[in-house]
């Protein structure tokens, strides 16, 4: 995952935010279209991620904190 890319949860939160913003009919039209497009793109990314994700399982070795830390830091 790229560093500046939103994680899955943040994408979902952003989508919720966009839904709320789009409920306001007084919103600027250009802004609304921009949000709509952003929302559709995010929704597509999230769906793709859910469909294609594969479970990752790591076995931690006891008493080797350094090795495991390397495993976990992203």
């Amino acid at each position: 995952m790229k560093k500046n890319e939103l994680n899955f949860e943040k994408k979902l939160k952003r989508l919720e935010e966009i839904s709320v913003l789009l409920e306001d009919e007084e919103i600027d039209l250009d802004k609304a279209i921009e949000l709509y497009e952003e929302g559709l793109a995010l929704s597509k990314e999230c769906s793709e991620r859910l469909r294609t994700a594969e479970l990752r399982i790591n076995e931690l070795k006891k008493n080797s904190l350094d090795m495991n830390s390397n495993l976990i830091t992203d």
């Binding site: 949860e9 559709l40 994700a53 479970l55 904190l65 830390s69 495993l71 976990i72």
Partner: protein, 405 residues
Amino acid sequence: MLSKATSDKTILSVSQITGLIKRNLEDEYSNITVMGELSGFKPHNTGHWYFNLKDSDAIISCCMWRSLNSQVFFKPQDGMKVIVTGRITVYPPRGNYQIDIRTIKPAGSGELQAAFEELKSKLFQEGLFDDINKKKIPEFPEKIALITAIDGAALKDMLSIAERRYPLVELFTISTKVQGAGAANEIAANINYINKLKNIDLIIVGRGGGSIEDLWAFNEEIVARAIFNSVIPVISAVGHEIDFTIADFVADLRAPTPSAAMELATPDRNDLLSSLGSFNQEATQSIKSIVAAKRNRLKNCVVSYGFRRPEDIVKRRYQDIDNIVFRIDNGIKFRVSSTKNRLAVLIETLKMHDIQKILDKGFVLIKQNSKFIRRFTAFNKMSPFIIKFADNEIEINKNSFKQDE
């Protein structure tokens, strides 16, 4: 006498008599089962256990070697009634005897229950179960650590549920002994250990169902404290054959089974996909409403008072001009007509002056229908008429003569 009596018997050394006692006792009591109350329990740092068993009238020393006590599922506590098996041994250097214990177990389930209740009440008093200390379980965990037996059914269940519900999650397993002696220490150590790693969002600690003895590690104080001290939220996931373990009370969330724990820990992929689908629908609906609303506003603007103002202003200016023209027009007309009137009056006055001169000389004028009659042909002898003298006038009609008669 005394010396004579003793001289009859063989004189034994301390070692000899102790050796005899040892042989007798150890032969006689090589396989015994004893029930008593635990007291003075202390684990030695070599791993061996030393304590006493007592009842109201007697006390006996006990020891249990590390290799054997590592199989004991519970931590002995003073006051606990236990049943031990073993043999009597004599320790010549101290001249004492003890039970060399092979197995130890609580005298009844009531004993474990009592230990459970005691610990529960102690931890409750300390606030370890308070809701205020419960951490929030993350809604979308990215990394979950699983503390359970690496070869257990519990782990397999959790992996398959994670796979089905939320494969976005990354799982970290750590092989952990979850039953028997030392299980509690290992569970606690692994909870502490996971807390030293970065970025773990959630810990699930548990095992499948079992007897109260099998699950006992989750009733130990050391596990309770490790869960309480964990900075990372903890879900307890101990098989449901008994109602609750101490771990369940301390955990941030309690699940009745490992499978249930994973279900609680992860959002469901299908729910997410369907809510993403409904986002698309709703957003499309919203954008349509927004466009419709804008169109409506535009329409309202065109017919609005403000928007019509410029047109009104032009119209009003036209009206102003019309008014002015009208007024000018009227003014001119009035002036013309009043001039005309004045002229007529003057003319009339002039005329009257001429007529008066004639009348003064004694002539009269005849007026019929408000006109002076100048010629015989203009006179109508059937109509009344007026004779105008210089000083007055008189109307002559049919009745004029009748009255005189």
